[in-house]
């Protein structure tokens, strides 16, 4: 295959970046999930959508 260096470089960078970014997303997702109480971890669960609010309500302290 001609120009194999260029071709492998291009494919290599694409796969590496996609994998690294994906791993970053998963890890960040996990650490943020730990930081938030279970009821608020998902848009649907917090009831924001069903209550029809544009921004979910603030918690009462």
């Amino acid at each position: 295959m001609t120009h194999s260096g260029f071709i492998f470089a291009a494919w290599g960078i694409v796969l590496a970046v996609l994998v690294l970014y994906s791993v970053h997303l998963v890890l960040r997702g996990r650490s943020l999930t730990d930081a938030v109480e279970p009821e608020h971890r998902r848009w649907l669960d917090s009831g924001a959508e069903t209550k029809g609010l544009s921004h979910p309500p603030r918690e009462q302290p």
């Binding site: 260029f6 494919w11 960078i13 997303l25 998963v26 997702g29 848009w43 917090s46």
Partner: protein, 260 residues
């Protein structure tokens, strides 16, 4: 899934999509390297196109979602749309950078340089990247959520409006009859059937990757919102608790209410 079971931004949906993507990547590698032939004009370099074109396509699609999300946010005032817009912009920047890098790598053996100013697409894509880096910078500015969402929506919409203008300007500007046109058409006069299929498969694969990333990135954005919101509430609650105990001590009361 009940709230207590959520331990990450993943879910059954993302795991299914993820598995399909992994299988798809294997298939795409086979398509691009083993089953398809070199191009009549570009030779083996066409194989870079099988990741370059999908990246560029996704970059533009992601930014369209961002602009659309901005419009929807301004119309419906729904945080959901703003978070979608923001998530899509970040993923779009990733694909845009990939498109530029792969395009540049392809360009080196083709044009002789890593950058060809008269190639309209690469120049426009670079301006697109800069516009969206600016958009992400605006999103990062600490502000009230409504403010931030509104600002970002306006910036996203202007950026999207600007793309056709940039494209047109650069196209015109780059059209120098003195120079040879830099863009090389794929497959010479017509695209070989398998090549076309490889391109489309790449497009679908990358779209699925985008969807997977969007689900995660949206959930991350949502969690960030929650932490901002409840982080503030927790801090307030702490301060209240502190001051209450200060008052209790000052007044000399113990838990039983007896005087000290």
């Amino acid at each position: 899934m009940s709230p207590a079971e959520v331990t990450s931004t993943g879910s059954r949906g993302t795991r299914v999509i993820g598995s399909i993507v992994l299988a798809g990547i294997v298939f795409h590698v086979l398509l691009s390297f083993v089953w398809s032939d070199p191009d009549a004009d570009q030779g083996d370099l066409v194989r870079i196109m099988y990741v370059h074109v999908p990246s560029a396509w996704l970059a533009y699609m992601a930014f369209t979602v961002t602009a659309f999300g901005g419009v929807m946010y301004l119309w419906k005032r729904s945080l959901w749309w703003d978070l979608v817009a923001g998530a899509s912009a970040e993923i779009g920047v990733v694909f845009c950078a990939l498109a530029l890098v792969t395009g540049s790598i392809w360009g080196r053996p083709t044009w002789g340089t890593y950058w060809e100013w008269t190639d309209v697409r690469i120049v426009t894509t670079l301006v697109l990247l800069l516009l969206y880096i600016g958009y992400l910078a605006v999103r990062r500015i600490p502000a009230d959520p409504h403010q931030r969402s509104r600002r970002a929506a306006v910036v996203g919409i202007i950026a999207a409006l600007n793309i056709p203008i940039v494209r047109f300007s650069v196209d015109w500007w780059a059209d120098r009859t003195l120079h040879q046109k830099a863009t090389v058409k794929l497959g010479g006069t017509e695209l070989d059937g398998l090549m076309l299929f490889a391109l489309f498969f790449g497009l679908i694969l990358f779209t699925l990757i985008y969807v997977w990333m969007m689900i995660h990135r949206f959930r991350i954005a949502w969690l960030d919102e929650q932490i901002d919101r409840h982080g503030l509430d927790a801090a307030i609650a702490e301060r209240l608790a502190e001051s209450t105990s200060d008052v209790t001590r000052a007044v000399g009361l113990t838990k039983t209410g007896a005087d000290l």
